[in-house]
Assembly symmetry: C2
Homo-oligomer: 557 residues x 2
């Protein structure tokens, strides 16, 4: 038996993404979409447990935003209303928002393998000196730090030998005759020049210069070809590629009929800003919130459901007077971090990352990401939610493109203005991924070797109800208890297999409690409560089970 | 004050669809999508009240299917699990399902106006005798009954004169020189022939033959041109048009990259049938349920959200042994009707309609629609849900197309078979429309002239909380009550405007109760409860308000 106190949250780096993906499939959290047809890259289906888990995150967000908005700085509850706008909107929406013109990723093709990469995920390392060394090594990585790590690793491994042999062919030298870190000087430079370029043997040179794919010229690419990280052929120059999925409405396929699948839910909110003002009782400052699907034709979907082509967002646009926007930016930043923590995400696995000026989108005055330490980013962090100060960019754009008057008359101030907008925009799909990663807890002492330590309020199944054996009146009592509990909680009744196997299954499902009906139940009306996190068991009266769940499921709220 | 007993549910025909659409917009139930850009045909946005209402229907269905499945014929609860599959799946899915080959609507274009019509919504009336009368009158209508009504009306109105004048030009006769119902015999027939064709003057002839657009030949269309119902030019022959929206995945737009937006959620379930069997504990018979968006590139979206291009479905596939399928078909038929009634839809406004053999889809052994009497179909009915006996069509198709083994080994029977499927498939969007139509209750005695009589459990807002005046300590008490109630219910706090206006707004929102804090509250701790349906008021202690809502909201469940 494992003591809860001895299990500390394992570091993200110690959790294997492969194991998490495998468990997600095995227990029915997430399946690859269209699996029987060989799948479809970038699309995933949520299985029985995954759908329940996702609904829990969705409902918690909707509750925190729409049903029970936070108490504001003045001590009164904020005004936020819900919305559910269409995925397909008038295409002029996306001209106004800048997505038609600007929602592009620069991409590079590999001429040999036909693979396509996001240019900002390609890093090419050139020897700093001399310029005449016509050689570059490409690695693919989501960030510069990751690229450095990959390059560093590459440099120290046998793979390097492979690169050397490739380079040898291109630069026409004998790969066995080398003394600078497995690299002989190319023929057209002196030994001294090459030593400067590659450093002394066995030592990481520090004399390489990394350049991002987006910055590469035709000339750069000419010298990058072939001697690569064993992954790349000849890369083309970066070309822009719009990330919106296109379709046509009606039978005629011309420019007039072209429409887009929304790449974000936010614009549906801006489109309805005036409708909401006209048809509800909200006054600035107020918010409009919605949860829904969005689509991005990602060049390289990856990291499980982290970067998929179809995903769900939870976005809220907070409209406020321009001179209060900074205050609200700070308010929402604080709120959103608290909220993620309330779902059971360990504070140490979350952090803020303020975007610097260069990184900010054209529409944004300030932006901070809530980042999570995913197993595939550890020890680094990756995006979970962005809280952006969008100023009046969106309303200005839609006002200009539509001709609609979107200014707000503030009666209290006797002033007309375009509200500024603070946007906490999070991924529902990513939220599910975070909860899966966070909950995944290896424990060699259990039959399942792992259990999913979900916050009880987020757990897709709150309890398993098991008759110890499927006879002797136990199933009847179990089913009665199940019928009682399911009125309030998502619970499972299971009468088959050994009790150990049933506990193991519930450990992997992350059900915080199991209630077992056994011989004693028939005598004294008690059941065994088995605690997921500790594997400890206690007995309580069967009449107390509902109250037990109520007391324990909502703890920490 | 109106007495509840005197208000009977008005007949659908007495409710104006225009009024329902106007209220939906005015109170923030449903807005036209992209309204500031002039809209987009066939797409709608759910506003603050609409989103709440839709969520209530969605959650009630999910609860009835996944969280608390019905008790089966054997007295034990059924096994149904949830799913949430991607909108975009491997395109081979839709080849297997028959949607690529067969999900087509025959369409006709108007060569002059460029408008496009569903051929099965075009009805052309030809004089029965003689065949040589080269003349036809086209009307557009969703059903034959509707077409007859339109033709009949047309026949009796001044519009007829217009048609005659048009026909006169084409058939070269003098429009003023006519004696058969405003129609002179065309020159190439005798007076007797024409009399037979058109009947005696002033009398509905009954000698017209209606032919559906789908049955029209080139020859038929040649004689239909121009002399129409003032709406049509020259119609082309019917041509097939696939209703699936297409898009391309990745940057290359070729046949390999083509994908579709799902036209139904059902196929995502069939794709995961094996995954669910392999990763959960269900055994046949069991169900898989999901709620989600679907898209159909409808030629003529219409009737508000009844036939839109983007909509939501709630579908459950029930997998059962072939020899039990008829029993389960009857079971689900019964369950689904009960469920719609439980949402407060009057039994008289719902009916079953069994599809006859000719109408059945190729995959279906039997199908029954749950129909509702919409204002635009009254006195007729229109589809709300279909309960289809799909046999093993889908699993067979996917087994053949994917090569995956989808047969089920039934341990109890020691038998291997492909389960048969019963599919209760309902529209979530249509469910919302039904609740809006059903709730819409004109009442001239109220300031709002109308109130929305939602079942309390479905009402988007359960209660309004109003301080009578926005001072004297009343707002503080009101806000405290609001903060207490919102933990459990969707409630609104509103302190502005006259109390009459606030009640009127809540009548249109369909909030079953309003709680008003007034001078007496300060003295004796009571509030006024105002009942939506009766406008009657009572006083209860403020501490009893939560209990009052609990007792009343769930009544009838």
């Amino acid at each position: 038996m494992t003591d809860a106190q001895t299990i500390t949250q394992p570091h993200a780096a110690s959790k294997s993404m492969d194991d998490i993906v495998a468990l997600s499939k095995r227990r029915g959290f997430i399946y690859p979409a269209s699996e029987i047809y060989g799948g479809i890259n970038g699309f995933w289906d949520f299985g029985p447990l995954g759908a329940l888990l996702k609904n829990n995150v969705r409902d918690a967000w909707w509750r925190a935003m729409v049903l029970c908005p936070p108490i504001g700085p003045d001590g009164h509850p904020l005004q936020i209303v819900g919305l559910d706008s269409a995925i397909i909107q008038n295409p002029r929406t996306w001209e106004a928002s800048g997505h038609v013109g600007g929602f592009n990723d620069p991409m590079m093709d590999d001429k040999e393998t036909k693979a396509r990469y996001r240019a900002d995920h390609i890093w090419v390392y050139f020897p700093k000196q001399p310029a005449s060394v016509r050689f570059g090594i490409a690695v693919e990585a989501g960030s510069f730090e990751e690229a450095e790590q990959r390059f560093d690793k590459l440099y120290q491994t046998a793979k390097w030998q492979k690169i050397v042999r490739k380079a040898a062919k291109v630069f026409n030298f004998n790969p066995d005759d080398h003394y600078w870190l497995g690299m002989k000087r190319p023929g057209n430079i002196t030994e001294e020049e090459a030593r400067n370029a590659f450093g002394p043997a066995g030592e990481y040179p520090g004399t390489w210069e990394a350049r991002c794919g987006t910055e590469l010229s035709k000339e750069d690419l000419a010298i990058t070809r072939s001697p690569d990280a064993d992954e790349f052929g000849t890369l083309t120059e970066p070309r822009m590629f719009n990330l919106m999925f296109e379709t046509y409405i009606g039978a005629i396929r011309d420019e007039d009929a072209k429409a887009y699948l929304r790449p974000e839910t936010a614009q549906g909110i801006f489109l309805n800003y005036k409708n909401v003002l006209d048809t509800t009782r909200v006054k600035v400052p107020f918010g409009i919130a919605q949860v829904g699907k969005a689509f991005r034709n990602e060049v390289t979907p990856r990291n499980f459901i982290f970067r998929s082509r179809e995903f769900e967002q939870m976005e809220m646009e907070w409209f406020c007077p321009p001179d209060q926007s900074q205050k609200w930016y700070e308010f929402w930043k604080d709120q959103r971090m608290k909220w993620w923590r309330s779902l059971g995400v360990a504070p140490g696995n979350l952090r803020f990352r303020e975007h610097d000026q260069e990184e900010l989108a054209h529409y944004s005055n300030a932006c901070v990401d809530v980042e999570y330490q995913y197993p595939f980013t550890a020890p680094g962090f990756g995006e979970l939610e962005g809280i952006a100060h969008r100023g009046d960019f969106d309303l200005t754009q839609h006002m200009q493109h539509s001709g609609a008057k979107l200014e707000y008359f503030d009666q209290q101030r006797n002033q007309r203005y375009l509200p500024h907008v603070i946007e906490p925009a999070s991924g529902l799909t990513r939220g599910v991924l975070v909860l899966l990663c966070e909950a995944f807890t290896p424990d060699p002492s259990r039959p399942s070797k792992v259990f999913m330590k979900f916050h009880p309020a987020m757990a897709p199944v709150k309890a398993g109800i098991f008759p110890l054996v499927n006879k002797d009146g136990m199933p009847e009592i179990g089913e009665k208890l199940y019928l009682e509990l399911r009125k309030k909680y998502a619970v499972e009744y299971d009468a088959k297999q050994s009790i150990g196997k049933r506990y193991a299954r519930m450990d992997e499902a992350g059900a915080p409690y199991c209630f077992t009906i056994d011989g004693d139940t028939l005598k004294d009306n008690t059941v065994t409560v088995r605690h997921r996190d500790t594997c400890q068991q206690q007995r309580i009266n069967i009449d107390r089970v509902t109250a037990f769940l109520t007391e324990n499921i909502d703890r920490g709220d």
